[in-house]
Chain length 362, copies 2
Amino acid sequence: MANRVHNFCAGPCTLPLEVLQEAQEEFVDYRGAGMSLVEMSHRGDLYGEVHRRATALAGELFAVPEDFHVLFIQGGASLQFAMAPMNLLAGGGRGAYVNSGVWAAGAIQDGAHHGDIYTVWDGAGCNFTRMPKDEELQLRDGTRYLHLTSNETIGGVRFARWPQAAVPLVGDMSSDYMSRPVAWEKFDLVYGGVQKNLGPSGTALVFARKSAVDNAPQNIARYLRYDIHAKSDSMFNTPPVFSIYMVGKVLQWIKSNGGVPAMEKMAARKSAKLYRAIDASGGYYSNPVDPVCRSHMNVIFRLPDQGREKLFLAEAEAAGLVNLKGHRSVGGCRASIYNAMPEAGVDALAQFMDDFQGRNGG
Amino acid sequence: MANRVHNFCAGPCTLPLEVLQEAQEEFVDYRGAGMSLVEMSHRGDLYGEVHRRATALAGELFAVPEDFHVLFIQGGASLQFAMAPMNLLAGGGRGAYVNSGVWAAGAIQDGAHHGDIYTVWDGAGCNFTRMPKDEELQLRDGTRYLHLTSNETIGGVRFARWPQAAVPLVGDMSSDYMSRPVAWEKFDLVYGGVQKNLGPSGTALVFARKSAVDNAPQNIARYLRYDIHAKSDSMFNTPPVFSIYMVGKVLQWIKSNGGVPAMEKMAARKSAKLYRAIDASGGYYSNPVDPVCRSHMNVIFRLPDQGREKLFLAEAEAAGLVNLKGHRSVGGCRASIYNAMPEAGVDALAQFMDDFQGRNGG
């Protein structure tokens, strides 16, 4: 594919080219069945195999312990903002939330309607440029879980390591899913949309500790209960067939490329190249995040002024480096470099940054 | 495509072949952008055009009045079972539900957790072989809406005409969506999964009267509020890009083939052929549904005994007529003949039924 661009979109985002090509080939007539996979009964053998394989691979690659359910649930992380407290606080207790930026704020706003929750640490004080230290997380009595957003897509800030806390953690990992290992013993629930690291949009992937969710409240609709999704192996109702199929293919690609440990190393390497370009620019490019907490997925940076930012984005696009515009709420630039972003794309961007600075004043 | 079968699956189900082929062609490099549509920002121009066009076509083809929102929401009809009462009963009042079979029962079971609802008519008394008459729908004081399931996929029974009621209707139309016109003046809310008549699985399509939902309750998560989805044109969070894209293509196909009026006529013609084959078989094939209420989408039938049913299904499959097995909860046979099922498929099945009876005792 001659004209393929380097796509730094924050999500949906770049997927492995071979996955797209394989899906294209199989699309109209799936394995000689005389129909497309998206036309088949989700209870049939061919889709059943796809579904089970995606579920099993998610568990295997992420080293998920046996005592967790692996679930595909529609509605994105946003629906999880409601489901987490609905299910985990039904038996009482409170949820403590770290406000680390836009996505954490969403979890807090929505969660507050479905359980007794409070903000244990608020990043507004430092303009969301770092994550809290363990000693800043003073939990109140009766806290059932501590909710965190492992990586903030918009602020470009991440938890470099999982907090130490006296209660189980709940993590929204939408934007760094399977780019790093999870300390499962600390977590009761991990959730995230798949549309950044794991596939096209259309499903959330949820890992739920069985003992934490198997006595779900009986007084909410079945779709909102983890135990119902678990009992039916994520087929309580018609699953989003195409999304799960694609996630399965991306997971297979991750496996073939060394699994999560390799993704973690690659993410560290790729992000280091961009932060180096920023830090070596003598302030021409700037990133406000505490170096320890800098995201390995979303590298945000500004140029000296908005005029040059605009020019940078236009010239980058012309050079095949697309979707580098920062989120509309903060402006600036953002390079999202998820699992499927080839290292060559990052190299090209770092080189472009250097060249651009040379051409446009240092 | 030489080996293409006639796929009578109840959903997901057969889609127009040209839609599949077009999607395949565009899949890896969408309109020369150097990337797939599923890799693009949902806020970008190319997906934006797809999204707006699918939304506009849904409204146009279904003749939806201006005072309705047209929304794509993940979670299938099942999540709507919760959202309908959450949103419509927040200001008080009760929901009256017609129990017409498996899907209506689901709406009742889930809805009961999120509003004051009651069953106004229960089809269990007639084994779900007909829908209620208007005079059987005695609403209680304070009823805010009357909920119906326009077509029961498993029971093969449908409302032949919309009930007369003193309150607005709410309709789950998952299994006969856009195969017949809607009397919009009677409805406040129409919802359904798209994976039968309108595309692959992965989204529900919801039509909500603005005046009924624009003062949605503030005390539930944003994902569960129709007004939030409406304000963001179904982009409150990352939409299920591929599903909506495919729905847009199927809608275009419906438009090119005469729109909903043509779909309605074709459904009447196709289903009549199968009911004729059943009724002309001298009891060899049987269908329990009151003729007035027989579904135009899901034609259920039994053979004289289970042995011959098994043989029928096996021989039909060998003849390229697949997925004719009835739902596991009821057994027997079921031919789902949604919009995209070609009339030739129905003709082939009717002929096969006749031949099979000839070979296997009449």
